[in-house]
Symmetry: C2
């Protein structure tokens, strides 16, 4: 079943110990779409400037990603620049030029409205709410956010949280959102407030899935050399939502497998800059690594 | 088969968000022995002062822990005091009085020399080497250490590492020992230098086992409320070595299960101060939680 994603499309300038790329395609909506499209068709809503070179994302057209919702606006594309430390878990943001993304107002094409799965990537909660009003009874809605909105637009974010099924966030965001340090207690608090499913990303330490009646914890897939972690979280979300959209039923075990798929797709994503690694692989490679992942974690 | 452990016996004064205990029994050898004794007989070598109240560790006598190697020396017992932060992963050491532990010289009783498993808890590498010279062909030798020795007695530590099979250390220690940030690359470096098995403890993030022909990664067991993390690492080691000592053969899968048992015993240990929780439980409780742990991590 098809997935709607609304998020950013960016040109990233990234420097790590392994090298540097300039103005490479990136952004939450692109990382998500690329990753989810291994599993299900994706309808993308986002914005780029007139300078955006569509040939750099040609690979998405072969992958059932509908780009008709990608608006082209007068001006320049959102640009982000960052430099990762020797310890690649840390980075400095060198610049953020929102450009056309600053006044982004998502327009959901009519043909997108019946998307059965919705992923609200990290954008202004007010816009996320609007998106939800413009889709017809999706089966599953999934929310991402960031510290900026948790502290800056808490009321609006709370309102979005009341209208989604699943929230994906990292351990720091969970802490900031609840004020509770213990991850499990924090998660329970959010579930008691109405969320059905919580997925906590812990980067190199894996992920945890908590629902009303299930608890699943997994380490990350061990990547020998992380080249560029940019987009890992959105790649995770893409594998997670993508796999669920490919399932006949949303069972407890399928949610667990979705987390494992998210982890696996993210592990490929970080093996190169931008989408270079994800462009090389197919569903078979992902399935093969998922089996390896399962073998690594069994006792 | 029986296990020899050489390490510290201490009186801990610990303060966490949940309360405070003063002069409670602790130390690596005691945490290890308590945990390992769920699985196999333990021969303990350590030292206490004349002030040590043996009635506080009476529970060990019922658990096949031989304390005849616990020397009583003139003077006071090793004392450690610490205060944990609100984020219980961090702590400040308030005081360390080595007392009789300062001049500790392990004496291995004759009847201990045929112990088939040896755990060298975190003490001076020179003493660890001496212990190894005083045991008869053990099946498996396991080493623990800490940053203090990695930076202070590197040559001696390297020598010990050449004579043991397994090393258990945390991610920071692994980094300090190798100078390599990526955990997997760092581990490979140590294996290439001769260690057969490496176990990396990541606290609340679980553990990784790396050998020449196996790789196993596991999250931690999710403890709802950590009361006191003191001794968690030695409890892990106790469950790990203890389980192996109970196995007929040291297979790949038994090493994995040993990590899972270590994780499980540690999860009990942190649920109360000192040995209060470990005193309450039996092997059945551990096995039950191990099954729950397995269920939580499967997909």
């Amino acid at each position: 079943m098809s997935i709607l994603v609304v998020g950013s499309v960016a040109l990233d300038t990234v420097e790590t110990q392994s090298g540097k790329v300039s103005d490479s395609p990136g952004g939450s909506a692109l990382y998500f779409s690329t990753s989810a499209s291994f599993f299900a068709p994706v309808n993308l809503v986002g914005v780029v400037g007139e300078d955006f070179d569509f040939s750099t994302i040609n690979f998405l057209r072969k992958k059932e990603v509908d780009l008709s919702g990608l608006q082209v606006e007068k001006g320049e594309t959102f640009r982000w620049g960052g430099r990762y430390h020797d310890n690649i878990n840390f980075r400095d943001t060198l610049f953020t030029y929102l450009n056309v993304f600053e006044s982004f107002h998502p327009v959901i094409p009519d043909k997108y409205r019946d998307s059965r799965f919705v992923f609200l990537a990290n954008i202004d909660p007010e816009l996320q709410l609007e998106v939800l009003k413009n889709v017809n009874a999706p089966i599953l809605t999934v929310l991402d956010t960031m510290n900026f909105w948790i502290s800056g637009k808490r009321k609006e974010l709370d309102e979005v949280m009341r209208h989604v099924d699943v929230m994906i966030l990292n351990d720091e965001e969970l802490h900031e959102l609840t004020g509770i340090i213990n991850l499990n207690s924090a998660a329970r608090t959010l579930l008691n407030q109405g969320l059905k499913v919580l997925v906590i990303k812990k980067g190199e330490h894996g992920a945890v899935l908590i629902t009303g009646n299930d608890y699943f914890s997994t380490p990350a897939f061990p990547v020998e050399k992380v080249i560029d972690p940019t987009g890992a979280g959105d790649s995770f979300a893409g594998g997670f939502v993508g796999y669920l959209a490919s399932c006949k039923r949303l069972t407890k075990n399928n949610f667990r497998k979705a987390v494992a798929y998210g982890t696996t797709v993210a592990s490929f994503s970080v093996e190169s800059f931008s989408f270079n690694r994800l462009k090389e692989i197919g569903r078979k490679d992902i399935d093969k690594r998922l089996e390896l992942f399962r073998a690594i974690t069994r006792f």
